[in-house]
């Protein structure tokens, strides 16, 4: 039986990488005494898969993973028992049961939205300019950036990955493509916006926070990954 677990990753946890977070959850599930399923063989491992990895330094309140259990407890009990094992920075928000043969969360992910907030070393004036410039950037037909990988550099048009981009109070809001089809990192959009406005980009000056991870429903609308299943009573 596969369940989907929604959790937050904040505070110190932004410095914990994706693989380490997986190991953290594996241990937490064990401490919680939940009946997790193991693969067969000499070094059995828990059947767990994570939705969309988060870059180091980014916080989130919309993270997901799927895991298989031999027996279940109610959603509320799942949440309670897991939260009793969490250290500060991770909180389990929801647990749902997936129907048999449901697609895993990783293959479902279609988009994520974020808040970007100024941290330090950033002039207020520039931040205002950035907030005001967001709309103009979105009016462009093409937004070209230089994508660097270990081996190559190439110019890429990221416009198609930006669904929404606007000032939300004092924060910058963005809804971006995510997942296996096209994945756009919020840092790249911030960098592109800075470039567009001729503001020097400094990664340490922004805190990125993921709000939610979405999939597409049958009508093609973006909905929460929790829509795949139902609460366990």
């Amino acid at each position: 039986m596969t369940v989907r677990i929604k959790y937050t990753k904040t505070g110190n946890f932004k410095f914990i990488g994706h693989l380490d977070l997986m190991r953290y959850f594996q241990k937490a599930v064990k401490r919680a005494g939940l009946d997790i399923a193991y693969s067969k063989g000499y070094s059995p491992h828990q059947m767990m898969s994570f939705a969309a990895p988060l870059a180091l330094g980014v916080t989130s309140e919309g993270e997901y993973f799927d895991a298989q259990f031999n027996t279940l407890v109610s959603s509320d009990e799942f949440v309670r028992r897991l939260n009793a094992q969490m250290t500060e920075g991770v909180e389990v928000r929801d647990v749902i049961l997936l129907p048999e043969k449901a697609k895993n969360s990783m293959s479902l992910v279609a988009a994520s939205d974020y808040h970007v907030t100024p941290v330090q070393g950033f002039l207020e004036e520039e931040w205002d300019r950035l907030l005001r410039g967001a709309g103009k950037l979105l009016e462009q037909e093409q937004i070209e950036i230089l994508r660097k990988t270990k081996k190559s550099e190439k110019v890429e048009d990221i416009r198609k990955g930006i669904y929404k981009l606007y000032a939300d109070g004092n924060q910058l809001y963005m809804l971006l493509a995510a997942g296996s089809e096209y994945n756009l990192k919020p840092e790249l959009v911030t960098e592109a916006l800075c470039g567009f406005l001729s503001i020097p980009y400094n990664r340490a000056a922004y805190q990125v926070h993921r709000l939610e991870t979405y999939m597409k429903n049958e009508e093609g609308a973006l909905v929460s990954l929790l829509e795949s299943g139902t609460k366990i009573q």
Binding site: G11, N12, F15, I16, G17, D20, L21, R23, Y24, Q26, K27, A28, V29, K30, R31, G33, Y38, Y42, S43, P44, L56, G57, Q85, T87, E88, G89, V119, Q120, G121, R203, A204, Q207
Partner: protein
């Protein structure tokens, strides 16, 4: 209290490798409010986080100290060179993980000394904390710097950097240290007087309270307390009832993968064997066991409180644990099969029992057999009192080959006392025999080609062993010998199935100096550190040239400490420590070694080493 406070800014944490090394807040971390306690203890492992977090002894003391309501023990590890640079540039003081507060604010800084090559890291810790490097320069209000662990059995090379050393197992006397400190604080005593009071606690050595004088030839003339009431000899402290000693049943669980990323179950302390090169085998005498019932309970509790899916046994020689069968059966059946916890095995003596256990817990095709004969010939194995015969090795290997194994690992040492060319050549010869034995396995039983990996390290004589008087080989002779062995390996008929590696000589030579060094070494360590040496245990940072320069600058000869055989009458720098095992026993073992006479292990018969004076352990097993 805000537990998310951080000593380092996001910007810095995002710049350094593995920022999780510095943020604390791990599962089972102890949280207290520093304002509610009277004693703040910063416990330090002077190496990188992943290594330090793997150390059982530190977890034991962390747990024990924090059981005291008036004490908050926090952890410190060496900042990796990337962060070290930033901290120096920006003047960020070294901080503890728990409350992220400066080490300077603490009452104690306790540093565990597990290997000699961490000595420059101690200076790094002190410097980054803002604590004067030389103990004599520290005034009131500066934390008391304590050392402990195996290297404190000869603390002399680093004595001038420490206020105190704790000799022995930490569980015993720290409560007294804290109580004495509390009282002294109430009386408003100054640093010197507090140290004087510490000096009267069993096991505590205060280097500044002793005077050393030297002869013209550089050896020690006399070593004596400077002040009335300071003990002449320091007694090693030992836990006699391990079942009653505190054990960290809620171990700290790191976020990033540590070197030992599993539950560690300590099954016994000490070793009955008495290999003559082995320091642990002497300083932890007598052998003491934990009862199997207690261990089963610990195993259950620790798996539950940590969520680990792997458990390993810790001891010097697990095969000698008398209830090993019962314990492994429990771990495999109750925790393994029912709860998915893998048992990772320490190296066991290869026999029918251990092969059976190995078969149940690991994939034979991926695992290998391990033998540690240490020397290539029976003659030399008798000299070092390693009770492992060629016949035992061949029998064990054959049984394993029949069981489906085809990979064998061998550990040897080169440069052992009395070693000849023939002994060295015995290494490839022994490996060849094992490789040939595989030919006797019927083809249909074989799982592939046999593969033998032998490695040799450079023997370093250690204090409190029968070889403490022995000459260490010089670096070049060792390298030549290792080279020669490699050549002989190439000429073996089964050369294609065998690999031979050997360690470089440089690090071992330095280890040799530190292991048996005296107070004259301190300036060398200081100068090496000043010239940029840190993380010497890491090949990528080790810089031998800088070390050579530091020795030259101070006019200190390395050979004096390494290649010189000491007469038994010589006053050794560590003679003031009483480990229970007598100097007389060690000397007779040294004599027997030269004659190639073996000594039975403690269970076969007692050899009267002196450790029986602790009143327990294996010395009394037979008698009741």
């Amino acid at each position: 209290m805000d537990m998310t406070k951080r000593a380092l800014s996001d910007e810095i944490l995002m710049q350094v490798e593995k920022p999780a090394r510095y943020i604390g807040n791990e599962v089972n971390m102890v949280k207290k409010n520093p304002a509610d306690v009277e004693i703040r203890f910063a416990m330090c492992f002077p190496d990188v986080y992943e290594i330090g977090m793997s150390h059982l002894g530190m977890q034991i003391l962390y747990d024990q100290f924090n059981r005291r309501e008036d004490t908050y023990c926090e952890r410190v590890y060496s900042p990796w060179p990337d962060l070290d640079r930033i901290m120096r540039e920006k003047n960020i003081p070294l901080f503890t993980l728990e409350t992220q507060s400066p080490v300077m604010d603490f009452d104690f800084l306790g540093i565990t000394l597990q290997y000699e090559m961490c000595y420059t890291n101690i200076l790094q810790i002190l410097a980054l904390s803002g604590i004067p490097i030389w103990a004599k320069d520290r005034g009131n209000g500066v934390p008391f710097v304590f050392g402990g662990g195996p290297c404190s059995y000869n603390p002399e090379p680093i004595a001038d950097f420490f206020d105190a050393f704790y000799i022995g197992e930490g569980e015993v006397s720290y409560d007294k240290v804290f109580d004495v400190y509390q009282a002294a604080k109430r009386e408003n005593l100054d640093r010197e007087e507090i140290l004087y009071r510490f000096s009267k606690i069993p096991g505590i050595y205060i280097p500044s309270m002793y005077e050393v004088s030297y002869k013209e030839d550089g050896t020690i003339r006399a070593f004596f307390p400077k002040r009335e009431g300071v003990p002449e000899k320091i007694q090693k402290q030992l836990v006699m009832n391990l079942d009653e000693a505190p054990y960290p049943v809620k171990p700290l669980v790191p976020y990033i993968r540590a070197t030992q990323d599993r539950v560690t179950l300590e099954i016994m302390r000490g070793c009955i064997r008495g290999c003559r090169f082995c320091q642990a085998g002497m300083i932890y005498r007598p052998t003491r066991l934990k009862s199997v019932e207690v261990l089963k309970q610990y195993a259950r509790d620790m798996v539950k409180s940590s969520g680990y899916e792997e458990i390993s046994l810790s001891s010097l020689s697990s095969s000698d644990y008398q209830c090993l069968k019962e314990l492994t059966a429990f771990l495999i059946e109750e925790l393994g099969e029912k709860e998915g916890v893998n048992l990772s095995l320490p190296s066991l003596r290869i026999d029918a029992f251990s092969l059976d256990v190995m078969q149940r817990v690991q994939d034979i095709r991926k695992s290998s057999l391990t033998f540690a004969p240490e020397a290539g010939t029976q003659r030399l194995r008798d000299v070092i009192n390693k009770g492992l015969t060629e016949e035992e090795i061949l029998n064990g290997a054959m049984q394993a080959f029949h069981g489906g194994w085809n990979k064998v690992k061998f550990y040897f040492m080169l440069g052992l006392p009395t070693e000849t060319e023939e002994d060295a050549e015995g290494i490839p010869a022994l490996c060849e025999k094992v490789a040939e034995a595989y030919d006797h396995i019927p083809k249909e039983e074989r799982t592939g080609r046999v593969s033998i990996t032998a490695s040799a390290s450079f023997f370093v004589p250690k204090p409190f062993t029968p070889f403490q008087w022995a000459a260490m080989l010089d670096g070049d002779t060792y390298s030549d010998r290792a080279h020669h062995v490699k050549d002989v390996f190439r000429k073996q008929p089964k050369a294609k199935s065998m690999k031979f590696h050997y360690h470089e000589s440089y690090v071992s030579v330095l280890e040799g100096v530190f292991a048996r060094g005296d107070r004259k070494i301190a300036n060398v360590i200081y100068d090496a550190y000043k010239s940029g040496c840190i993380f010497d245990a890491w090949t990528e940072f080790f810089d031998y040239e800088k070390w050579l320069a530091a020795f030259a600058k101070n006019g200190v000869s390395m050979d004096f400490y390494t290649t010189r055989e000491r007469p038994v009458e010589e006053v050794l720098p560590w003679d003031f420590i009483d480990i229970g095992v007598t100097k007389q026993f060690l000397a007779s073992e040294w004599e027997k070694a030269k004659q190639g006479v073996v000594t039975p292990n403690c269970r076969e018969s007692c050899s009267g080493c002196g450790a029986a004076k602790f009143g327990g352990g294996v010395c009394y097993d037979r008698k009741n």
